[in-house]
Subunit: 200 residues, 2 copies
Amino acid sequence: MDDARRPGRPRDAARDEAILKAARAVLVDEGYAGLSMEKVAAAAGVGKPTVYRRWSSKASLVGDAVLHSFLAAVPGFGPPGPHDAGTTQQLTAWFRAYAASVRDPHHAAMIRALVAAAAESPHDAEALYKQRTHAQYTAILSCLRAGVADGEFRADADLEAVADALIGSVLYQLLTGTEHEAPRRAGHLLDILLAGLRRT
Amino acid sequence: MDDARRPGRPRDAARDEAILKAARAVLVDEGYAGLSMEKVAAAAGVGKPTVYRRWSSKASLVGDAVLHSFLAAVPGFGPPGPHDAGTTQQLTAWFRAYAASVRDPHHAAMIRALVAAAAESPHDAEALYKQRTHAQYTAILSCLRAGVADGEFRADADLEAVADALIGSVLYQLLTGTEHEAPRRAGHLLDILLAGLRRT
């Protein structure tokens, strides 16, 4: 974290990180329903007011806790790498890695928590989910746009609709307990979408 | 409800229906986070133990409350009609109607609540979401399979992956506050998926 390097703030940053780490541990063990600010405070060894000073709600704490563990761990979640492997290869590598990651119960718990936080607070949904998954969404769109620029995909294709389907299909699998199917279906879905996107 | 017709049980059935109706009203006004068993009991004019006797958890109450309002209201949510209009037309009619329905704030609140309930309780996810959206999922799969049987779609296509993408894309839009885009993107996504599914 950048904050950790800022003079005069190392203690705050370390405490924030301890709170986020405690929140992730509670999420993995007890899910979103089982998480309370009290439990996180106790697990982090701080008082409840300390948690509330930094995060005004359970949903915002979970949003930060999940994103901190996500960014480092899920391939393709960040901005896209250089477009030298070709659109199809780049998309395939990202989507397969993303779909494989949800078979890890820890990751699955994190995404479910983010979804629960977004669904629980409709008014915060944009802030809690869209904004926080924006890097991933942008990466996919950028990759798809490169495919159009290369002349591989139809120029009139609705790339947002494709990105929604890629991320959404894995979400649906997580919510129906079929995430063990995610890697296999991800490859198949991408094949169908790519075939539909190609210029004929 | 069948229960309402059963001799000796009309009062229970009417009370259950009043509780489910109260739960939907609370969901629309305050979202999943704002719903408590106490609030629903008060709105339905019954005691909290009465609610708990019938539903052991907030998640199971919400699951029933949402499904009762859903089945009647969302076109295509139930089993598929006769396959006389052709697969493409049938799928398009269903998916457009489904995507249009989420622009209604009442429907959007119901689906978000179902998602929140499923995401909140990972262990109940299958029961709470998959089982309850099973009729919809089966209808889509049945429609896609008819397309394979007709020779319109490739026989080796992963139809479950396509169904996940259709339902999942709308879920993602709901979670990111982009459901106003759902009807337009639904049409575009279906075009791309159908093009990818067609035999070449």
